[in-house]
């Protein structure tokens, strides 16, 4: 059954031009996050009383507000663009940290088995049992607010997925001939792990990293929405959404546009992650 899947896969992708859409959209987001802030100036602490709550397309003191202005007269489009940068920076940092920690722990557990596996597996069980967002709320909410604290708070629960995945693959790769060969030739254990085991994690890890990026971006927005995440001088979609709540009946654009930006990004990243997962995950469990 798996052979037919391999044979039919290329034709299936060629017949679906829509498959490129999420990539294009994410490309636009990346461009906006990279270059947008250079083009569109935004001062998160500046306020302009005369420009308050203007609907999309209104003229303001500093040009046209294409997506309107918020409760203190700040441009919504600028918040969307600057918020994209924040989301990517936090999301990518969280994924890099959690992937590194998770792969290291998972590979060690899967490769060595016995005691290391026992300890790491129980640790995974414990982390799986408690909702990560709760831990993040408590950590980010009680400690001094800042990007670093948010990244740490989101990383604490995030490594588990990577560890589970890496452990499973390492367990099966360990039994392969080339690992035996390396061991017989006297290659050191760290070198065997990094050169002969970890490379086989790449595909699945990239697929999982995509999904984890989406959830990290979402979790950061949720934290900032609850006013427990980033400080007010860092632009974040979550904060913009929260800021628009009190004007929901009169100025919907403050909440709708940053939220739509977040939703579209998360859905596109999720779509790609799902596709990569299907491509890289052999039927294991």
């Amino acid at each position: 059954m798996s052979e037919t899947a391999v044979l039919t896969a290329p034709t299936a992708t060629r017949r679906r031009p829509l498959a490129a859409v999420p990539y294009v959209i994410i490309g636009i987001y990346l461009l906006a996050a990279l270059f947008g802030p250079l083009v569109i100036d935004f001062d998160p602490v500046a306020t302009s009383v005369t420009d308050r709550l203007l609907p999309p397309g209104s003229a303001t003191g500093s040009g046209t507000a294409l997506l309107g202005t918020d409760g203190v007269g700040r441009d919504v489009l600028a918040q969307v663009v600057h918020g994209a940068r924040t989301s990517f920076v936090i999301g990518i940092a969280v994924v890099l940290i959690t992937a590194t920690v998770g792969i290291a722990l998972g590979a060690v557990a899967g490769y060595f088995g016995r005691f290391p596996d026992l300890v790491i597996s129980r640790l995974i069980d414990i982390m799986m049992a408690f909702p990560g967002i709760l831990l993040a709320i408590i950590i980010a909410g009680l400690l001094d607010r800042g990007p670093l604290v948010v990244i740490i708070a989101l990383s604490i629960g995030g490594w588990v997925g990577f560890a589970r995945l890496s452990r499973g693959i390492a367990m099966s790769v360990r039994e392969r001939d080339w690992v035996d060969a390396a061991r017989t030739m006297g290659v050191s254990t760290p070198a065997t792990l990094t050169r002969h085991v970890v490379p086989f994690l790449a595909g699945s890890v990239i697929a999982l990293a995509t999904i984890e990026l989406a959830s990290a971006v979402l979790a950061e927005a949720a934290l900032s929405f609850l006013n427990l995440g980033l400080p007010p001088d860092v632009v974040s979609w979550g904060q913009s959404i929260a800021g628009g709540r009190e004007y929901l009946a009169t100025a919907w654009w403050i909440t709708v546009f940053p939220g739509a930006a977040l939703t579209i990004l998360v859905i596109c990243v999720g779509l790609i992650g799902d596709r990569l997962t299907r491509r890289f995950t052999r039927k294991r469990d």
Binding site: A129, I138, I241, L248, L262, G270
Partner: protein, 309 residues
């Protein structure tokens, strides 16, 4: 079975210990201690010292930690300085609202998810399947707190069908429960779809069909029951996520439950309340996971056999 439950309970206890210890560490690392938070910025040094002594904050950290573990065991977390009542009382007072919300959301999600999943999985690749799969993928990724706000905008502010915030009546329950159920419905639908699609290829399904059973009998009697095992596993594992999601959704709708209280307590640095709420949530999540394991063992003889070994 007893051994399975025993092992799970042990992991659960260790989890609770891990969670309460993590909360202890975070509270020690947080700027300002209970005394400065409770007395406010105008407190004199004498007042601070006196309260610190009364709360045991002048003891070595290890002694404080052991005291705290004792508090956890006796469920006595001291008074919430915001409410002026024992923290556990406040938390238990808020508990029923959260249970109502999460149980309603879980029921909606399981019913809708199962139906959608079976519809999609019975004919993999069909139009229904592709529609359900795509929509489910999108709904699973969509940020629930923003969906909640959009629901308020459309159904509460524009159409005036439901109240936008608060609790008490059935009308108040609709929007938060549906919002909370959305990602979970998508998850249940996707897992069910995969399980049903796989079961459909089994030989006993062919046997059932060739016996002359109707398609409904085959689906209900043979396919669904065998597909439920992975569904129960995943749902059980994800119930914790549902509780976590409830924290955010309760805040959006000002639902008077544990979650919105926890967010407020974190914001106000009401440490006693944070500790009490975390322990209660952790216990709930672990009991739910345990329940899912037991249901699973009932459904699947293989798990029971494995546990016996």
């Amino acid at each position: 079975m007893t051994r399975l439950v025993g092992r799970r309970l042990l992991i659960g206890l260790v989890t609770i210990w891990g969670v309460v210890s993590a909360v202890f560490v975070v509270i020690r690392l947080a700027p300002g201690d209970q005394a400065t938070v409770a007395l406010g910025p105008d407190a004199t040094q004498e007042q601070l010292t006196a309260l610190r002594h009364a709360l045991g904050l002048d003891q070595p950290v290890l002694v404080q930690y052991l005291d705290y573990l004792g508090d956890v065991l006796t469920l006595d977390f001291g008074e919430s300085y915001r409410y002026g009542r024992p923290a556990m009382d406040v938390v238990f007072g808020r508990f029923p609202a959260t249970v109502t919300l999460t149980v309603t959301a879980a029921l909606i999600a399981i019913c809708c998810g199962l139906v959608l999943g079976v519809l999609a999985g019975r004919r993999p690749g069909s139009l229904v399947d592709r529609a359900v799969s795509t929509v489910a993928l999108g709904l699973q990724a969509i940020p629930p707190f923003w969906v909640g706000i959009m629901f308020i905008l459309v159904f509460a502010l524009q159409l005036r069908l439901f109240p936008s915030a608060g609790g008490g009546t059935l009308g108040h329950l609709v929007l938060p429960a549906v919002t909370l159920a959305i990602p979970f419905t998508a998850l249940v639908a996707r897992i069910t779809r995969g399980a049903v699609a796989e079961t459909m290829t089994e030989s006993f399904v062919r046997t059932a069909r060739s016996k002359g059973l109707t398609e409904t009998q085959v689906l209900g009697g043979h396919v669904l029951k065998n597909s439920l095992i992975p569904v129960v596993t995943v749902v059980g594992l994800q119930l914790g996520t549902l509780v976590g999601g409830a924290v955010v959704i309760e805040t959006v709708f000002a639902w008077p439950g544990l979650g919105s209280m926890l967010v407020n307590a974190v914001e106000n640095r009401d440490f006693a309340l944070v500790q009490a709420a975390t322990v209660l949530i952790a216990v709930c999540v672990i009991v739910l996971n345990l329940a899912a394991d037991v249901v699973n063992a009932r459904l699947d003889p293989r798990i029971r056999l494995e546990a016996r070994r």
